[in-house]
């Protein structure tokens, strides 16, 4: 029987006033094992990791490292106790050398002076342990992502980490790079280091994991031995049995002609979309895990990201070089992050709402712009004081309506909505989808990308599953069970109705 290096019991995190992000989570990580953490979007994985790494403080529960009770108030305390976190967005300083990064925050000292020689020697040792073939003098910015990943692992070693948490390390790595990282993980576990490995991908878990704990709805559901547990059991644990099924709304059959036809679209980071079609009046949902390429696809369609594409719009070849071209062709994008991409927070509501529509004019007639804005805001049942009010003063749902108003005022006929319901409450979500249906009934085509499958399930005519940059499966939600779609989303199996 191997000893537990990290043991967590009944760990909870509540955010006031009444959001429970994690409830009574348990996990025990053994010395020298690779323990995987699995869960759907919103299952509580990131909260759990942040609690373990000291980036958040728990509301209740107990953590033990090597049998000693610990409570961390800051990430530095967790690091000192031997728990090291490697974030998906590696937190290395690209301008500094590998050796400088390895000892960032705890440089070896001699008589109060920086001891460069010791630093270089110890950096070399750590790099040898991770099997790196680059020098401690190299700049981190000049390394490949895989080598930066190795640098991050080596940094954990310089802090004598007992547990290294890796948050979706595979997201940015190629197949061969991932193999190299796996080889390092095996060597480290052989030396007694434990790895807590977070990933969406069952294939990786099969390759590297010893045990796996499944999170769902903020709770740890069960811990399995990877060997001998079938995929079906894991998927069932991720999805749960008693799912509340959402009522599918009655949608009239789509009879419009084909508006958008993508024969093939390829872009950076492995995006490769084939044979995507959209008819007038159709609401098409895109689902998939984080990094599956939904956002890149929408941005490429909108001309906001570079791509190679053969596609047509309304029967004519379509090649947008900038958002301007896409807007002229009748597209509108509600971006994923409304605050950084969707709105000018400091500007009045009506100026935000009429920004695309006023392009091409010389004069900005404020009275006219307001007159255009007000009825659309009313149609969207937006709650606001006056059209001159700054959008920063609106609630999230009403801000989102202003972003939508931009494209309604402009008269877009193909709407791209990227996570449009993020941060909205139930009422605002219902408003949003009601509006999307109205737009579709008026002949607009809509693509909605969302990680909330239930929403898509309720509102869409078609659902596409995106997996690692490809559109691998297409379902008709009227005749498909939600769980079937989720399985495809996780396992990446191909399917076309």
């Amino acid at each position: 029987m191997m000893e537990d290096v990290l043991r967590i019991e009944r760990l909870s995190k509540r955010f006031p006033p009444n959001i429970v992000a994690l409830a009574d989570a348990n996990i025990s990580v053994r010395k020298g094992e690779v323990h995987c953490l699995l869960g759907a979007n919103g299952a509580g994985k990131s909260t759990f990791l942040k609690l373990i790494a000291g980036a958040l403080s728990p509301s209740a529960g107990e953590m033990r490292v090597d049998g000693h009770k610990v409570s961390f108030r800051a990430p530095a305390e967790a690091a000192a106790a031997g728990i090291s976190m490697i974030y998906q967005e590696l937190d290395l300083v690209p301008q500094l050398t590998v050796a400088e990064n390895l000892f960032l925050g705890h440089p070896p000292q001699r008589f109060g002076f920086l001891d460069k020689r010791t630093r270089r020697d110890r950096a070399k040792e750590a790099l040898i342990r991770v099997g790196a073939n680059f020098s401690p003098e190299d700049r981190v910015g000049s390394l490949s992502i895989a080598n930066q990943q190795l640098t991050a692992i080596a940094r954990s070693l310089t802090r004598d980490a007992k547990v290294i948490i890796m948050d979706e390390p595979s997201a940015a790595l190629s197949e061969t790079e991932l193999k190299a990282v796996f080889r390092v993980i095996r060597e480290l576990t052989a030396q007694g280091v434990a790895i807590l490995y977070v990933s969406h991908r069952l294939g990786e878990l099969r390759e590297i994991g010893d045990r796996v704990t499944v999170l769902r709805g903020g709770q740890t559901i069960e811990t399995f031995d990877v060997e001998g547990t079938p995929d079906s059991a894991l998927v069932e644990a991720i999805l749960g049995r008693n799912r509340t099924l959402v009522e599918r709304r009655q949608r009239p059959p789509v009879t419009g002609d084909v508006l958008l036809k993508v024969d093939r679209l390829t872009a950076a980071q492995g995006l490769d979309i084939r044979d995507f079609e959209l008819r007038r009046g159709e609401i098409s949902g895109l689902t998939g895990l984080n990094g599956s390429g939904r956002t890149s696809f929408l941005k490429a369609l909108f001309g906001a990201e570079l791509c190679e594409a053969k596609m047509s719009l309304d029967g004519r070849p379509y090649r947008p070089k900038a958002p301007r071209d896409a807007i002229r062709a009748g597209l509108g994008l509600v971006p994923e992050n409304r605050k950084t991409e969707g709105l000018i927070l400091d500007a009045p509501i009506y100026r935000n709402a009429t920004l695309p529509a006023m392009q091409g004019n010389f004069l900005a007639r404020h009275g006219e712009l307001k007159a255009k804005t007000v009825p659309v805001l009313k149609q969207l049942s937006t709650k606001y004081g006056a059209p001159e009010q700054k959008v920063i003063q609106l609630s999230g749902g009403n801000q989102q309506k202003v972003v939508l108003a931009k494209w309604i005022i402009k008269g877009a006929s193909l709407l791209l909505l990227d996570e449009p319901s993020r941060g909205l409450d139930i009422g605002a979500k219902a408003d949003l989808y009601r509006l999307v249906e109205e737009l579709a009934a008026d002949g607009a085509a809509v693509i909605v990308a969302s990680s909330e499958l239930e929403e898509l399930y309720a509102a869409c005519d078609t659902i596409w599953v995106f997996h690692e940059g490809r559109n691998i499966a297409r379902f008709d939600p009227a005749i498909t069970n939600q769980d079937t779609i989720l399985k495809h989303q996780i396992l990446g199996e191909h399917h076309h109705d």
Binding site: P323, L343, I344, D346, Q359, A364, K383
Partner: protein, 333 residues
């Protein structure tokens, strides 16, 4: 996140708007306070002659600051303006001394200023490098070209009618007149204010400075807008140079050194955010006049430029802290 204020009673709402307006235009109050202090300190301050002088002295930096306002509204900076003023001031002098008629000389000079600004804008927008460093290079190079024009020698012998551009006195109403230079400054302020307020280009400047990515995704030609604001700044610097040479009656290659800092100080003092998206020409106008009034007070009181510099710096810091404080109160920290 604050919710909408639909529920607030109308009385409370109009009261709140009044306070918002007072906060938004705080620079006007500060300006009036400083003017009142000046009037108390010196009986010569509120005389028509002195006020006319104020506008004349403020005109060059004021005109340049108008252009700088456009640049800063997009979240950029133009350090080259002082050198462009000197370059254009020299160029117009060289052309006139060479016998060219006034109008074509001015036209060529303005085109040169526009080209200088557009160059900085193009490099900034297309190469996506910070305008700070591009315009710093402009500051050095344009000054170098200025010296090369005459090997560093001032140019004199300009036609007297050219001097009239800056110093014709125009009666406003009985007992008060203003120099043409001061009037040009005021007219340009109004024109720039109208351009920012009533045209799609003006809206686009604010949008690009407020959130460049959101502007791009709304279909705005953000790069073209950057090139245009730097072109506006170049044109304003050219006008500043023409006015300066007209007033001095000679082309002086060492003129306008450090003018870029005076212009930036005025723009920021006028409430325009260095991060872009907020502010305007009205604030710049009052800040330029405020700084000029300060200089004027010290002169009337017989205090030297050392005091002026010290106090000017303190006032700028105080104004920035005030705006920062307002931001924090509004929850934009």
């Amino acid at each position: 996140m604050t919710d909408t204020v639909t529920g607030a009673p109308p009385m409370q709402r109009s009261g709140r708007r009044l306070i918002d307006l007072a906060i938004e235009y705080n620079f006007i109050f500060i300006f009036l306070v400083v003017v009142a202090i000046a009037a108390i300190l010196s009986p010569n301050f509120m005389t028509p002659t002195n006020i006319a002088n104020l506008f004349q002295q403020a005109a060059v930096v004021g005109v340049v600051a108008i252009g700088m306002t456009f640049v800063i509204l997009t979240g950029n900076i133009d350090l080259s303006v002082g050198s462009v003023v000197a370059l254009c001031g020299m160029l117009v002098a060289v052309l006139l001394a060479g016998g060219m008629p006034i109008l074509p000389a001015i036209a060529i000079t303005i085109l040169t200023g526009a080209a200088a600004g557009a160059t900085i804008g193009l490099i900034t927008a297309l190469a996506e490098v910070p305008s700070f460093i591009v315009s710093l290079a402009g500051l050095v190079s344009f000054r170098g070209i200025t010296y090369l024009l005459t090997d560093g020698v001032p140019v004199s012998g300009l036609p007297p009618s050219f001097g009239a551009i800056s110093s014709t006195m125009i009666p406003l109403f009985p007992g008060a007149q203003i120099s043409s230079m001061g009037l040009i400054f005021i007219v340009l302020c109004i024109a720039a204010g109208a351009l920012l307020r009533f045209t799609v280009f003006g809206e686009s400047v604010y949008a690009t400075g407020g959130n460049a990515e959101a502007a791009r995704l709304s279909g705005l030609p953000t790069k073209r807008i950057l090139v245009l604001v730097f072109t506006v700044s170049g044109i304003m610097s050219a006008l500043g140079g023409i006015l300066l040479t007209s007033r001095l009656r000679i082309g002086q290659p060492t003129a306008a050194q450090g003018l870029e800092l005076d212009a930036i100080a005025a723009v920021v003092l006028g409430g325009t955010s260095l991060f872009g998206g907020r502010g305007g020409v009205l604030g710049t106008f009052f800040a330029v006049m405020l700084l000029q009034v300060l200089r004027n007070i010290f002169n009337l009181l017989g205090l030297g430029s050392f005091y002026q510099m010290t106090v000017t710096g303190l006032i700028i810091v105080a104004a920035i802290l005030l705006n920062r404080f307002i931001d924090i109160r509004r929850g934009r920290a």
